[in-house]
């Protein structure tokens, strides 16, 4: 059993090294290697999760031969294990579901490059989940930025080029802010390992010195990560990037890349700064307000779209707003709701992007509402998956989205400030109505009965997408119906995180 402690490192290393190998393989082999590695990582993460769940404690894995204050460390507890498992699962299903569209979008010669990027992204996501070192986190944030830019641009069309440039600019602004924030924190505390920084930070706050630089460092890192994960005023890159990328990329970007940044932010709040300090900090109020604004304005923009993929992209802005609102409540209940919503939103959004691609496949490759009329009759499984996803976004019981809304509302009611409680509950209501408006419109369009035309699939069935969509539907319903088990797991993980 001791061997399991090596698995997080082996997983990251395996992804990185096979990523390099993929660059010299041809497309078919690269695909096989990539799928094998992600599946292997999924099983390894499950083993890690099982191990920490059994032993009920977290472990620190020392990288290299240097002990704590100097060396580099990997740390894994229940939350890290759960998220690594979940991220691997979603990555596997996203690529599996989008693989047919991928083969059409990218020329045969270059298709191995896509799997290089997928492996790189997987390595970065795992590293961000497991790392205990702030500067390593920064390096992997940059690796993830480059990987994400690659999977947007790989279609090679004008619009996807432009989208990736916009993405890069916003992302680089974010990384600049993160870097200078990290530098400030290093200067103030003299450490780069998360647990050591936290000890020093506690003393710093107790002594009352350097409060302004410390607060501004927290603000810089928060805003930097918020920019990267497309919180409301910084979301300008998001709609283009999600719309013009190939469907697997949109699924990966919306459900993994932006979520990994938010996971890192939560990790920094818990493990670097410490809950007692961050809950007193005013920066959470700003994240709260931005989150609330995102919930409303994201939905309002989504209503105005007549392109299905763009509508889903704007709905992502609203959902990211939910997560930041949960973080901004400034309570452990809010954090729990936010962490659960990361999972439920990732499970629904990847499903919706894949089903949108499935629907457009049978509607002349267009995501425009006029072309999509009756598309759900031509591709039943994609239509059904879209239905489940839409229900989950609106918050119909039995789906994952309902549970996260329940937890957000509970967290709001327990919030220490009445002001925040009232705003949260009202906005949750308004946002649910707005969600319903645009998702029901989309459902009416795709389920419109066709007169005269032949109903039924159009011959070219996409088996892999069907498998991925069914698996995602099952994941979503599992999160919705067995939420108690998942929430208990996350709660134990968050407690271990402190």
């Amino acid at each position: 059993m001791e061997f399991i402690r090596n698995l997080p490192f082996i997983g990251i290393f395996l992804c990185m090294s096979t990523g390099v190998i993929n660059s010299v393989l041809d497309g078919k082999w690269a695909k096989k290697v990539s799928f094998t590695v992600i599946t292997a990582n999924l099983f390894m993460s499950i083993l890690v999760l099982y191990y920490v769940w059994q032993t009920k404690q977290s472990y620190i894995y020392v990288m290299g031969h240097h002990p704590a204050p100097w060396g580099n460390e990997i740390r894994f507890g229940i939350l890290e294990g759960a998220f690594a498992t979940f991220f691997c699962l979603i990555m596997l299903l996203s690529v599996l579901g989008g693989v047919k569209r991928l083969e059409e979008d990218i020329s045969e010669k270059r298709s191995n490059l896509y799997y290089v990027l997928v492996n790189l992204l997987m390595a970065a996501i795992l590293a961000l989940t497991y790392t205990n070192d702030l500067f390593t986190a920064y390096v992997f944030v940059e690796i993830m930025t480059i990987g994400a830019c690659g999977i947007i641009v790989i279609r090679g069309e004008g619009r996807s080029l432009l989208a990736s440039v916009k993405y890069m600019i916003m992302s680089l602004l974010g990384s600049g802010l993160i870097l200078i924030g990290l530098t400030l924190i290093y200067d103030l505390t003299g450490h780069l390992l998360m647990s050591n920084i936290q000890e020093a930070a506690q003393q710093l706050v107790k002594s009352g010195q350097y409060q302004v630089p410390f607060t501004s460092a927290i603000a810089l890192i928060s805003v930097g990560l918020a920019m990267k994960s497309a919180l409301f005023p910084f979301h300008s890159w998001l709609p283009d990037a999600y719309t013009y990328a190939t469907s697997a990329s949109s699924a990966i970007l919306s459900s993994l890349v932006s979520k990994a940044y938010i996971f890192l932010l939560i990790k920094i709040y818990y493990r670097v700064i410490g809950l007692s300090i961050i809950f007193q900090n005013k920066i959470l109020n700003i994240l709260f307000l931005f989150g609330i604004a995102g919930m409303i304005f994201g939905s309002l923009s989504a209503i105005r779209q007549d392109d299905l993929k763009k509508m889903i992209a704007y709905s992502s802005v609203a959902q990211i707003g939910y997560i930041y609102m949960g973080i901004g409540l400034g309570t452990t209940a809010g954090m729990l709701a936010a962490v659960f919503h990361i999972m439920s939103h990732a499970a629904s959004k990847s499903m919706m992007f894949l089903s949108a691609s499935g629907l457009s496949q049978v509607s002349g490759r267009s995501c425009n509402y006029r072309k999509l009329i009756g598309a759900a009759h031509r591709n039943r499984i994609a239509g059904f998956a879209f239905l489940v996803g839409a229900f989950s976004m609106v918050g119909i019981p039995m789906t994952a989205g309902y549970i996260s809304k329940v937890y957000f509302a509970q967290a709001a009611i327990q919030a220490p400030y009445q002001f925040k409680m009232i705003i949260t509950v009202i906005t949750l209501g308004i946002s649910t109505i707005l969600n319903a408006v645009y998702f029901i419109r989309a459902l009416i369009v795709i389920y419109q009965p066709l007169k005269g035309q032949k109903q039924g699939a159009d011959g070219r069935r996409d088996f892999r997408m069907a498998v991925a969509l069914w698996a995602l539907v099952v994941t979503n319903l599992f999160l919705g119906m067995h939420s108690d088990a998942v929430v208990d797991l996350l709660r134990a993980g968050l407690r271990m995180f402190c």
């Binding site: 480059i146 004008g158 432009l162 440039v165 680089l172 602004l173 600049g176 200078i180 530098t183 290093y186």
Partner: protein, 124 residues
């Protein structure tokens, strides 16, 4: 307050440069100038780090002449971080430049706003 700013003039300059780079990257329309802004921003952070690691009157952290006392050398970690940071910023700059070349070939312009207009026109 003002005395502090003057006393820590390395840090002050670094933060000013960071601001210049940040606004150039955010607001400038020309892609190449954006990339220059990015590099100014990153380099400002390295200046900040190097200034923080430097201790007056000490040597670079390379053991020479058998002097092994800790007091003889400056803090080596910020220098290590700067090196890592340089690697990151070089690769990011390379990606940005490659994207700029592709954009220029496709749209014949370096102006982001103009390219956006052209792209929108093409879609219609």
């Amino acid at each position: 307050m003002g005395a502090n700013l003057f006393h820590n003039y390395y840090e002050t300059v670094a933060v000013i440069l960071f601001g210049i780079g940040f606004t150039t990257l955010l607001l400038h329309r020309n892609m190449i100038k954006k990339i220059i802004g990015l590099n100014i921003m990153d380099t400002a952070v390295y200046l900040f780090l190097a200034a923080k690691g430097y201790i007056e009157g000490r040597m670079a952290p390379i053991v020479v002449n058998g002097i092994q006392k800790q007091e003889a050398y400056i803090n080596p970690i910020p220098s290590g971080l700067v090196l890592t940071g340089i690697v990151v910023s070089v690769s990011v700059t390379a990606v940005m430049l490659a994207l700029t070349i592709r954009l220029y070939r496709r749209y014949g312009s370096l102006d982001v706003d103009e390219i956006s207009m052209k792209a929108k026109k093409e879609e219609r």
